[in-house]
Point group: C2
C-alpha cells in the first residue's frame, strides 16, 4: 500500500487508460497496452496493491443532482492562544471533514491559511454554509469567497 514501486512504460499506459475509464474491461485494456488480458489484470492488481491506484469512483454531473454553485474560499484561522482549549488548526481540520459541502480543503503557503472548494445548490445554501457553519466555527477568523463562473477544465487524471 505505501511502498514505492517502480513503474515501467506499460504500467504508465495502464494507469492512463484507467484514469480515462475506470471500468474498462481487461480485454480492452489488454488491447490498448498490447498485452494479454491476464497480464493486464496482473498489472492492475499489482498497482492496486501498491496503492498507486487509490480507488475507483463514479463522477456525477453536479447540475443534475441540483448542485449549481461552486465557490473557492480562502480561510484564515485564529491564532493559537492560551484561551483556546484546543489548537484551532486541529479543531478546524476535524470540522472540515464533517462538512459535506466542502469537497476540497488544502493548507496553503501565503497569507490565507486554507483554501476550500465548496459545492452547494444555490446562493441561499451558500450563505447558510458561510454564516451558520464556517464563520460560526470558533477557529475561523475570516474568509474571502470567489464564485466559480465557469469550469474551464476539470480532470481527475494526473499528468503522467
Amino acid at each position: 500500500m505505501a511502498t514505492e514501486i517502480q513503474l515501467d512504460s506499460i504500467d504508465i499506459r495502464v494507469l492512463r487508460a484507467l484514469q480515462e475509464n475506470g471500468r474498462i474491461t481487461y480485454d480492452e485494456l489488454a488491447d490498448k497496452v498490447s498485452l494479454s488480458s491476464s497480464a493486464a489484470l496482473r498489472r492492475v492488481k499489482r498497482l492496486e496493491e501498491a496503492g498507486v491506484i487509490a480507488r475507483y469512483v463514479a463522477l456525477l454531473k453536479p447540475e443534475s443532482v441540483g448542485l449549481g454553485l461552486t465557490a473557492y474560499l480562502n480561510v484564515r484561522l485564529e491564532k493559537f492562544t492560551a484561551t483556546h482549549k484546543r489548537n484551532p488548526m486541529d479543531s478546524f481540520r476535524a470540522a472540515v471533514q464533517t462538512w459535506p459541502e466542502v469537497v476540497e480543503c488544502s493548507a496553503l503557503t501565503g497569507e490565507m491559511d486554507y483554501l476550500l472548494c465548496v459545492v452547494v445548490a444555490d446562493m441561499a445554501h451558500y450563505s447558510r454554509f458561510v454564516l451558520d457553519t464556517l464563520l460560526s466555527h470558533p477557529s475561523v477568523q475570516d474568509c474571502k469567497t470567489s464564485f466559480v463562473l465557469d469550469r474551464v477544465k476539470r480532470t481527475t487524471a494526473l499528468p503522467i
Copy 2:
C-alpha cells in the same frame, strides 16, 4: 444525456454508493439499497443514460507516480484590445486544455480572472511550467502562486 431527471431516495443511495466505489458489483449495490441486482442495474443504467453519472475513473495517489507538488495559481489575463489577433480569453482557455499539469481551471468572480490547480513533480518542474508555459502565453498578464502544504480533504463525491 442532458435532460433533467427526477431522483428518488433510492437513486440518491445508488449514487452515493457509486461515488464511494465505482466498481461495486450490482449484487453488492443491490444489498446496500435493498433492491434486487437487476433493479439496481436498471437504476444505474438510467442514471448513466440521463448523464447524472458522467463517467467512471480510477484515482491515483499522486506521490506514487512522482507528483509531489500541488499549487493553486491565480491568473490575470491581458485586456482585449485591437492589437490582439484573438480574444485573450479564448486563447487562454484553449491553451489550458493542452497543458497536462493543469488539472483544474475555473473562471472566478473577484480580482483575479482564473484559478488553476497545477500538479507537478517538484519545484524545478513547477518553475519551468510557470516561466516557460504559463507566463510565456501572450494572454497571461500575471499570476500569484500558493503551494499546497497539506491536503486536508479531497473528495470527488458530491454532497448528495
